[in-house]
């Protein structure tokens, strides 16, 4: 076993693209996975639910980071795509499909929608494209509302609890493992995506799309591919969300969710899978922390009635602005700096 290299001994391209340069990372990740697998057995059901939420948002954030961080296409519609996945999964589950079929199918449906709303990327880019995805958000959100109000009044879709071989995977504990496995699979796939031809084409398009086209990359095809991969991840995240919460309604999949997703990848670090994980964790935990804080504050200040709502918006906004101004590379880069420091400690180089 090799734990740390004291220099750069890489001689082949394959060495540069390995996921783990040495065994420290492997041991660390294995220990982390084992630790996470024990969580449902000693955490309170509420905290297990929060962890499940973190997991499914990690899936969504990894997807958005492939599109926005690595391919350079801004999407303001990621929340709506997640919603589409949730609705698709709920309908498929009601039709009697098992969850292990409904979740990827919901992802596939969302991927098609994602590719459709990626079509404007053929002609427009940058800010104009951001607005096209904003329109996708508004239109899908409208469709969800329309669906909720079918037959007059509001009726929410309920999702049956997932079952596997006759066992019910209860939402408090066992479903955590479904999300956990999906996160591992999704992260593994994303890490490997960037070691392939497709991943390199994405980076080339982000860095300079005209140069990429000149090198023979079919820019439009790869942009659509990026859109549909991102939407697939969002759809899977939405499907997991549908199963985890048991009820699907339009109000969760607003523009705010899309913005939260963008905040996740900015806080974590654009173009970094590790960053997506860190960002999704921070942004999902934040409202839970604020809720506790607001509850204790409202006992001191009883006149402030909408404290939680206000704090949620204000702190969320301050985090985005703060990260952009002072830590624009995100948490993943800070982690890298810390790691480098300890790699060579006590020397500075």
């Amino acid at each position: 076993m090799q734990f740390s290299a004291c220099g750069n001994y890489k001689t082949r391209y394959e060495d540069e693209t390995t996921i783990f340069p040495n065994d420290t990372g492997r041991v660390f990740v294995a220990a982390l996975l084992v630790f996470l697998a024990t969580l449902p057995w000693w955490l309170s059901p509420y905290l297990v639910f929060v962890t499940t939420l973190i997991g499914l948002f990690i899936v969504g954030a990894v997807g958005l980071n492939i599109l926005t961080g690595s391919t350079g296409q801004i999407s303001l519609g990621h929340g709506a795509f997640m919603g589409l996945g949730a609705y698709a999964a709920a309908l498929l589950a009601q039709a009697g499909l098992p969850f292990w079929l409904a979740i990827p199918l919901a992802g596939a449906v969302t991927a098609v929608a994602g590719a459709f709303f990626g079509i404007p990327s053929l002609r427009v880019k940058g800010l104009y494209l951001a607005l096209a995805t904003l329109a996708a958000q508004v239109i899908l959100q409208f469709a969800f509302n329309l669906f909720d109000s079918r037959g007059g009044g509001t009726s929410y879709l309920s999702v049956p609890e997932p079952t596997l071989f006759g066992w019910t995977l209860d939402r408090d504990r066992m479903f955590f493992y479904v999300v956990f496995a999906t996160v591992v699979l999704g992260v593994y796939a994303a890490l490997n995506l960037f070691r392939t031809r497709v991943g390199r084409a994405f980076s080339a398009i982000r860095d300079n799309d005209r140069a990429a086209a000149a090198m023979g990359i079919n820019v439009f095809k790869y942009k659509l591919l990026a859109f549909s991969i991102a939407a697939f991840y969002a759809g899977v995240a939405g499907a997991l969300w549908a199963y985890a919460s048991g009820v699907v309604s339009a109000e969760r999949f607003t523009l705010l969710l899309s913005v939260e997703y963008l905040a996740m990848i900015i806080v974590g670090g654009l173009g970094s899978v590790l960053g997506s994980i860190m960002g999704a964790t921070v942004i999902t935990v934040l409202p839970e922390v604020l809720r506790v804080l607001a509850d204790s504050l409202s006992q001191v200040l009883p006149q402030a009635t909408h404290l939680f709502l206000a704090m949620r918006f204000a702190v969320f906004g301050l985090i985005i602005v703060g990260f952009l101004m002072f830590e624009s590379q995100g948490l993943a880069d800070r982690w890298r700096v810390i790691k480098t420091y300890f790699n060579t400690w006590p020397f500075r180089y």
């Binding site: 926005t68 801004i74 079509i119 404007p120 002609r123 427009v124 940058g126 800010l127 104009y128 951001a130 607005l131 096209a132 904003l134 329109a135 996708a136 508004v138 239109i139 409208f142 329309l146 005209r210 000149a214 523009l255 913005v259 963008l262 905040a263 900015i266 654009l270 402030a304 009635t305 909408h306 404290l307 709502l309 206000a310 704090m311 949620r312 918006f313 204000a314 702190v315 969320f316 906004g317 301050l318 985090i319 985005i320 602005v321 952009l324 101004m325 624009s328």
Partner: protein, 295 residues
């Protein structure tokens, strides 16, 4: 026929407000290439500040509106200096997200002070409808139309004839050429933000006095500005005005004719369908500058 006319008039009233809001939005985009997602929130905040000055401090309505306009011009200068200037030259997503962050902070502040409820702007003129034939006109609507038109007229005079206005157009056209002619681009950026917030507040107060005040309702105008500016072209000031009017009329026509037919309210989504169609067919809008890329 009269129904159609009524819808057109209502559409023009609300459209003129969109035009006013879109004008500030385009101004920011044209000078500094920032897509201001916080526009609707600044608009809402301004309206609430004017409301608070008039109700809590018991100032007369018109001076409190004027005071708010001045305050927001200054706020625009400050926001540009403190938040936007450090991000000049950063990638698009940073610039978009900083305005999204600002929007969130403003929402938080507004929820903290006013909460999510509805408020009514103090009445400052008798609301006796004027009836011409079958046409029902509220004097408030007419005033709104007149004020919007006056603001738009003032702005067009400002851009055509004042030195500062010409300098702003020069910066929007070609920053380097403007710099070499001695225009201070920094100053222009700051003033663009000042004017943009000023016009946003004007639009907000008009909407607020026609309908009611709520954080969410007013901030939605910031989202509706996007279809308006895309229809007109992101970087065209006349385009913003025409786009705003078109979206206002379109909304009302949809509400009047298509919604009763289908039984669902398409009103809120039609502008965005138009946005997608325009982006696919004529991406730079009616009057926008077509971005030509040469290698």
């Amino acid at each position: 026929m009269d129904f159609l006319l009524q819808l057109l008039v209502n559409g023009l009233v609300i459209g003129s407000v969109y035009a006013l809001a879109a004008l500030g939005f385009v101004l920011i985009y044209k000078s500094s290439r920032v897509l201001n997602f916080a526009h609707g929130d600044f608009l809402a905040l301004g309206t609430f500040v004017a409301f608070a000055l008039a109700t809590s401090l018991h100032l007369p309505v018109v001076p409190s509106i004027l005071l708010t306009l001045v305050c927001f011009f200054v706020l625009g200068l400050v926001v540009e200096r403190v938040v936007l200037r450090p991000l000049i030259g950063k990638e698009i997503i940073a610039v978009i997200m900083v305005s999204v962050g600002l929007s969130s902070v403003i929402k938080g502040v507004m929820y903290l002070i006013w909460g999510p409820g509805y408020f009514l702007f103090p009445e400052f003129m008798p609301d006796i409808p004027i009836i011409i034939g079958d046409l029902y006109l509220s004097p408030l609507h007419l005033l709104a139309l007149a004020v919007s038109a006056a603001f738009l007229g003032l702005f067009s005079l400002f851009f055509k004839h004042s030195t500062l206005g010409v300098a702003m157009r020069a910066v929007a056209d070609d920053q380097q050429a403007a710099l070499s002619l001695g225009v201070s681009v920094r100053k222009i950026f700051a003033i663009a933000w000042g004017i943009a917030l000023l016009s946003a507040v004007a639009a907000g107060v008009i909407v607020g006095s026609i309908t009611s005040l709520s954080t969410e309702g007013l901030a939605t105008i910031g989202i509706l500005v996007f279809p308006a500016v895309i229809v007109g072209g992101l970087d065209s000031i006349p385009g913003a005005v025409i786009g705003g009017l078109l979206i206002g009329v379109l909304e009302n026509l949809t509400a009047g004719f298509i919604d009763p037919m289908l039984g669902v309210s398409l009103r809120s989504v039609v502008p965005f369908i138009v946005l997608v169609v325009i982006l696919m067919l004529k991406p730079y809008g009616l009057f926008g500058t077509v971005e030509i890329e040469r290698v």
